[in-house]
Amino acid sequence: MAPWLVHAATALRRNPGYPVFLTRTLLRRHSVLPGFDLALGFTLLYLGLIVLIPLSAAFLKTFTMTWPAFREAVSAPRVLASYRLTFGASLAAALLNGVFGLVVAWVLVRYAFPFKRVVDALVDLPFALPTAVAGIALTALYAQNGWIGQWLPFKVSFTPLGVFVALTFIGLPFVVRTLQPVLQDLHREVEEAAATLGADRWQTFRRVIFPALVPALLTGFALAFARALGEYGSVIFIAGNMPMVSEITPLLIITKLEQYDYQGATAIAVVMLATAFLLLLAINGLQAWARARQGR
């Protein structure tokens, strides 16, 4: 038996009914507060059952595939086309949100205008509105006879452009809500100093304010991008879902599942998961950077 198992077994025998194992092995500093074992034990159990074990199922499933079969599943032309669309549209939407999210955050923090509080609260709408509702609403708007679509010279609904529109909707709050607190905490005195030294307003923004916003802006961009990669509900209605043209990767996973191609679906899912985890790491890094900047 492994040493830690022996350790746990003796601990349990000496003190039956009270799992002191976690306290003995993990706790760094003694605390007078009770409940560490119970709370951490439950947390780990719940995390394992709900998240870790099911997620590991996806990885284990792909281990039953041969390497050529896996490669075939994740790099078939139709799959590659879906990556291109998903990544491309997510990137474009996150970029658009980066630009307009900055404007929205700036306006909400710096200016007073009528109904500002209502506008501010509504920025969270994409978080609160179920994605299916957003999907059918955007489709109706941007269809060729829709409120917005009829004024546009090109088709939006049922084209890759529609995917871009839906992902823009989904990603907007991430940029605004990441930038807002940073903008709020900026010291006005620095701007006053820049003005005193002869900088005009644009120079002050470009050389003083914007550099301070960069970490938060990148974080918001990455969050919007990450969310867009996995988005499903708001996209499938507006995309038209034509293979090779307007089919996103999450939809392809569902299509494979419906054809009982569990291995194919899981292989693509594992690629998406790996990308998502890499992005999560990048975002954590960006946030650490942003915090270091802010706490300066």
């Binding site: 719940y46 988005e231 569990y262």
Partner: protein, 333 residues
């Protein structure tokens, strides 16, 4: 926090008529404000963008829902399938929100109140569900409980169903809403520190008493905030639930799935009518969220913080809130 020290020199160097406020809008306009034209152009740009991408989509749901008249609207939302979808949506939320509430409290208690090895790993793992596509969240439960999955044969022998049945829907909902409450509680409880609980302990309170009479009153608004967000997502979840539901009308259909079915059957008015219920839920969520935010004082960080935490609070940038708030689908500030 550092602003007060930085702010003093300026008024002293140039004794302006109004001594008290540091940044009155009128005095500041000269150097740290944009020309009025730029200001209004920026406001107009922001509002136009938000109108195109947020306000009109919300409006179109309500208009399309009532386009064929109120009778059609009423018929759509009182249809037996719609009612059973509503019931299932409420059931799924009523199970998954309390589950994640208990988890959130347990996770926040051990992470915020104790110092232990592997804490950062645990924090990252709690965030994991947010970075997983909803479709994949559904897929992994199919791999575990589906007919081809690990427990599929065993479940079939015992005549139990998880996938394409209510338990699967609940599980998928629990997964996608997993971090919501924990994420609200952890930064707040970290910022609050242990002193009050330790004092209660010294005065002889037991664990449950400490939690109920000291900790809970301190975190109730953040708890409510987390519950509101968690519930909104639980009721609105589409992708994950879609994978595990099997779309059996009247049995395994939630409201968002019902919207999809109606829409795909070209019953647009009915689809938008049911969607308007969900849009209403979203608006109620935003209003509640706004009200709770006022109580929490999120909007006025440094100024409204508790008077005493300054000395030992390790994070300089205000109450520890930003630390674990931002990756989420919720409000970073």
């Amino acid at each position: 926090m550092g602003s007060s020290t930085l702010a003093f020199p300026a008024p002293r160097l140039a004794p302006m008529p109004a001594p008290a406020p540091v940044s009155p809008p009128h005095a500041a306009r000269a150097v740290t404000a944009e020309p009025a034209g730029v200001k209004w152009a920026l406001i107009a740009t922001a509002l136009l963008f938000l109108t195109l991408f947020l306000f009109i989509p919300l409006g179109v749901v309500l208009v399309e829902a009532l386009r064929r008249g109120f009778a059609v609207y009423l018929a759509a939302i009182t249809d037996p399938d719609a009612v059973s979808a509503l019931a299932l949506t409420v059931i799924a939320a009523a199970i998954s929100v309390p589950m994640n509430l208990v988890f959130g409290l347990a996770a926040a208690w051990c992470i915020a109140k104790f110092d232990f090895r592997g804490k950062n790993v645990l924090l990252t793992l709690i965030d994991l569900p947010f970075s997983v596509s909803p479709v994949i969240a559904g897929l992994i439960y199919v791999l575990v409980f589906g007919l081809q999955g690990w427990f599929g044969p065993w479940l079939r022998e015992h005549d139990a169903r998880i996938i394409f049945a209510v338990p699967g829907i609940v599980l998928a909902t629990v997964f996608v809403t997993f971090p919501f409450i924990a994420r609200e509680l952890i930064p707040l409880m970290q910022a609050q520190g242990n002193e009050q609980e330790e004092a209660a302990r010294v005065l002889g309170a037991g664990g449950w008493q400490i939690f109920r009479r000291v900790t809970l009153p301190n975190i109730r608004w953040a708890l409510l905030y987390g519950v509101i967000l968690c519930n909104a997502r639980a009721m609105g979840e589409f992708g994950a639930v879609s994978v595990v539901s099997g779309h059996i009308r009247g049995q395994t259909n939630t409201l968002p799935l019902h919207v999809e079915i109606l829409y795909n059957e070209y019953q647009f008015a009915a689809a938008f009518a049911v969607a308007s219920l969900l849009a209403l839920l979203a608006l109620v969520t935003l209003v509640l969220k706004y009200l709770v935010e006022q109580r929490l004082g999120y909007r006025a960080p440094a100024a409204a913080g508790a008077p005493e935490p300054a000395p030992e609070s390790p994070s300089e940038a205000g109450p520890a809130a930003p630390a674990h708030r931002s990756v989420s689908l919720e409000h970073p500030a």
